[in-house]
């Protein structure tokens, strides 16, 4: 996708691509603790049925996944494995941090063995609070992520830049295309 890399993709085409991406997300379930069961209920149970949102929760490995849900307490012993998992995932990739423990350490904020938030190790796109969050809360988090992806500037994502929306990029482009105003210098001489 040379077009995407170089950021030469027309905006309507990007929107189309984004829609495709947001409705065929392969989610890797990185279940660590209590939240894993609620994640299982959201992804695996007939009552919540995540597939209606266009999310496929059953990739065989992180190498096939677009999204990882880190649900549960990340301990210092586990942290290297979480980092490695994230590195295995292909770009573009997204992370949902589910539950208070993954967000900030939760009830174990003062423990000697718990990492105080998974965002210390990997970048997080959506935080779902709760201890544990209800399955509906996780679904809400996924919907929010999908809305975000729909509006995302893919080129920026591919260049590993911060999250940028299409509108923002367009505004930047517009600002660039206008000639920069000449600096007004009192007296008319060159600036030393």
């Amino acid at each position: 996708m040379g077009l995407v890399d170089r950021g030469r993709m027309p905006a309507p085409l990007t929107k189309l691509f984004n829609m495709g991406r947001s409705y065929s997300m392969w989610v890797y379930q990185w279940g660590l603790a209590c939240c894993a069961i609620e994640m299982g209920a959201a992804f695996g149970s007939p009552r919540y049925d995540v597939m209606r949102l266009g999310v496929i929760p059953l990739p065989a490995s992180p190498r096939q996944a677009d999204l990882v849900v880190v649900s549960g307490t990340v301990t210092d012993k586990m942290a290297p494995a979480v980092k490695r998992l994230y590195e295995q995932m292909p770009e573009p990739k997204y992370v949902i941090s589910m539950g208070s423990c993954a967000n900030c350490g939760g009830p174990y904020w003062d423990s000697y063995s718990v990492t105080k938030g998974v965002d210390q190790i990997i970048p997080v796109d959506v935080y779902v609070p709760g201890c544990p969050p209800r399955p509906e809360a996780l679904l809400e988090g996924i919907v929010l992520l999908q809305q975000r992806i729909k509006n995302e500037d893919m080129a920026a994502k591919w260049r590993n830049e911060e999250f940028t929306t299409l509108q923002k990029t367009a505004a930047l482009e517009k600002a660039k295309s206008q000639p920069a105003p000449e600096p007004i210098v009192v007296g008319g001489g060159p600036i030393e």
Partner: protein, 218 residues
């Protein structure tokens, strides 16, 4: 219920519970002077304290009595925590904390005690065994008597730094290999609490009037 250790003589005088008294009597005949102290709450529970040399022997003696179900093994650190609860205002004057060792039931002399529990499934009775950990920080292993003691001793070793003579492999069970310190010792600080006062404590924030007087903003 009193927290003072009851001597063996008073224990015998307590009414009822011949079952647990019988256990103590038989243990005394097996161990002799190595049985240092006992504490009994009738129809509830039984504690015995043995000398560290007889730690392994006690397991064998109790197993012969029918206590063949291994429940747990761990240790106690009787030093009062030098950090209190770690939830005080970091700017405030530290309050002096007594470092006097006050052991629980069945008494003791040392800061560390190992304790374990065995169950007799047939007679529906359990017993808690304690032993003082000597200066060498090492007691005999229970591995020959109860295979389940393996992981419990590994855990006790990494949490308290107590060695078990004869245990083949006292690797860390929980913590990463490079972890320093023994977390369950009372003098192991919880650093998160040092840098941030416990947010859940009642009245940790000064009243608005006090805050205006410059009493700190924690």
């Amino acid at each position: 219920m009193s927290d003072t250790a009851t001597g063996t003589d008073e224990t015998a005088a307590l009414p009822g519970d011949g079952l647990r008294e019988g256990i103590v009597d038989r243990l005394r005949s097996d161990l002799g002077e190595h049985l240092l102290d006992t504490y009994l709450i009738p129809h509830t529970d039984l504690w015995v304290r043995v000398s560290a040399e007889a730690w392994g022997q006690t397991a064998a003696a109790l197993k012969a009595q029918g206590f063949d179900h291994f429940c747990f093994l761990s240790a106690l650190d009787w030093l009062p925590s030098p950090f209190g609860k770690g939830e005080d205002d970091p700017d405030a004057e530290p309050v002096a904390i007594s470092t006097e060792l006050v052991q629980g039931y069945t008494g003791g002399e040392t800061r560390f005690q190992v304790f374990a529990r065995l169950t007799d499934i047939k007679r529906h009775v359990g017993v808690t065994i304690k032993a003082d950990v000597p200066e060498s920080m090492s007691v005999p292993t229970w591995l020959p008597h109860f295979a389940g003691a393996n992981w419990h001793e590994r855990e006790t070793h990494e949490m308290f730094g107590i060695g078990f003579e004869g245990h083949p492999d006292l690797r860390n069970l929980y913590l990463p290999g490079e972890f320093e310190g023994f977390p369950l010792r009372k003098d192991f600080p919880l650093l998160s609490r040092m840098v941030k006062p416990w947010p859940g404590i009642v009245d940790v924030e000064p009243m608005p009037v006090a805050a205006q007087e410059g009493d700190g903003e924690s």
